[in-house]
Amino acid sequence: MLKLSRNEKLAHAIIYVLLILLTLAFLIPFIIVFSTSFISEAEFARRGGYVLYPEAIDMGSYDILFGRSKVILNAYSVTLFRVVVGTGFNLAFTITMAYALAKKDLPGRVPLTIFVFITMVFSGGLIPRFMLVDALGLRNTLWSMVYPGLISAWNMLIMRNFFMSLPEELFDAAIVDGASPPTVLLRIVLPLSMPVIATIGLFYAVWHWNSWFDAAIYIDKSHLKPMQIILRSLLETTNMQGLEELAFIEDPPPAASLRSALIIVSTVPVLFIYPFVQRYFVKGIMIGSIKG
């Protein structure tokens, strides 16, 4: 182990303290909403707002979110649709195009790549995009959350670079053995590419889970609203009765508590999954940072 001088030891002590403080800064906001989600109306009135720890556990907010209101379960199912069906579509379209553009001797490969690349540096902007989705009749359908973001040019190029890094001899050997191009793709390329497919799939899934703005402009119907939209309306409104989805509630729990509970409910799946999948994400950034 290294030997450290007094100054270095002091510097290291300061670094450790700073890192611990930083870690707390990441965690404390979550602790606060977690605690506040359990407080009752009486405790809220006494303590005046959000709290670092609850004095007594009151499940009133969760009771409303899951028991007395259908809104949350419905929003969950819309979000789940986005994540599962949306990500499936994303992957199917991304993989096929990336595989074609990875074929090194394909005539027209470079112009096609430029054709995709242009969309990364210039876009028509918000208004034409909105008018297009409107004109296609996608507004107020679940597909308005799937089709407009079908392929991320960035993810597609990452995947293309990965396919291009696979050894060419592998395919040649298979073709010599009489395998057709579809067989090569399904039997050889896809099994070899599972790590990168998982990574890109997770990118898309988290994006779907967290998306708010597309649904906010394309969806007006209550029963088609995903989790993030419901959470947003609850955070925004000043009185709970003002929110159409929760208008029927008599003597509601404190707003802060209900909001906190909804934040927890919409974040818990991510909180539990991300420590296990983050290494895939890190790998994804690495692949993306290598130019092909």
């Binding site: 195009m97 540096v121 028509g124 034409p128 708010w212 802060a256 934040i263 991300y274």
Partner: protein
């Protein structure tokens, strides 16, 4: 045009063998790759429909389009030239949104760009691997959280009524504090929450560059009597300098993206004066105010400027001998 005329004049003669051979060869080659074109086709259609058609949709910026006319409405709408652009350049909002965009973006670069570098340098000094991994994993957390949830966390701390920090300050000082509706604090909140959300994730590339440094360099420096500060200064930082340069250039290239979703979710009329950026202005004028043509003109202005910024950034990167985005 020319090749068509040639083909016409030659059509009565037998076609030159070499030429037709080329065409056949080309067709044969294309047919040979049919499976790959078939695979690319859905993606190509997607990019045409959802990216190229909206690009041509910017013609509405030069017309007077009613929000209720549909596609025929766009075609029939009268051309008005640069009317909407002139209105934007001469409006009292022009300099305000430009200033807000550049200042907020600038603040985020000034504080948000060095933060992950410092964070990575600090982590590089941590030799307890479990602690290091724990801090890293926790620091990635904000990256996986939506901006909607993040604004919920911010208001748990800073809401004017009930926010943990606001209420604590009120009790301590006896004043009535406000943060999210206070123009003096709003840009600070935007900057701080941006740093909170990105510091961990942005440190990954720096940590990767540090991991690639040859340990022999440190050993040699230790034998020469260098201390940890000198090693950081003369080995670590020079080794990651190229990553720093390239990321900084592209940060500049994205100067006009000041954080649309974050601001849209956090701002309110009382802080428009310090936080209304080009993107939020386009959203309000266009989708809320239904001035499609005007908003599209503002959006086009931003798109063109952003494109020029990116080209300049890339040229700068190439000039410095770094591989740019292209």
């Amino acid at each position: 045009m020319k090749s068509q005329a040639d083909a016409g004049s030659l059509s009565r003669m037998p076609p030159p063998a070499r030429n037709s051979g080329n065409w056949r060869k080309l067709l044969e080659r294309l047919w040979f790759y049919r499976f790959y074109y078939l695979l690319a086709l859905p993606g190509i259609l997607y990019f045409i429909i959802f990216h190229y058609i909206p690009m041509f949709g910017i013609v509405i910026a030069f017309k007077d389009v009613s929000p209720f006319g549909g596609v025929e409405g766009i075609i029939e709408a009268p051309w008005v030239g640069l009317k909407h652009f002139n209105r934007f350049f001469n409006s009292i909002f022009f300099w305000n949104v430009i200033e807000n965009t550049v200042v907020i973006s600038g603040l985020k670069i000034i504080f948000g760009f060095p933060a992950p570098i410092i964070f990575a340098l600090m982590l590089n000094e941590v030799f307890r691997l479990k602690f290091k991994r724990f801090v890293q994993t926790v620091s990635y957390l904000p990256h996986f959280i939506s901006w909607v949830v993040t604004t919920g966390l911010i208001s748990a701390l800073l809401a004017t009524s009930g926010g943990l920090i606001t209420e604590a300050l009120n009790n301590l000082t006896g004043d009535n504090w406000s943060f999210l509706t206070n123009p003096d604090h709003f840009r600070g909140i935007l900057t701080l929450s941006h740093v909170w959300k990105t510091i961990g994730w942005s440190s990954i590339l720096y940590l990767a560059a540090m991991a690639a440094i040859d340990p022999a360099l440190y050993e040699a420096a230790a034998i020469d009597g260098a201390n940890r500060f000198q090693m950081a200064r003369h080995i670590t930082i020079p080794s990651i300098a190229f990553v720093i340069t390239i990321l900084f250039i592209f940060e500049i290239g994205n100067l006009l993206d000041a954080g649309f979703e974050q601001i849209l979710l956090l701002y309110s009329p009382s802080v428009y004066s310090v936080s209304d950026i080009i993107d939020t202005y386009v959203y309000r004028e266009g989708l809320l105010g239904l001035k499609y043509s005007f908003a599209a003109a503002v959006g086009l202005f931003k798109g063109v400027m952003a494109f020029l910024f990116l080209i300049a950034a890339n040229a700068l990167a190439n000039r410095l001998g770094q591989p740019g985005l292209w």
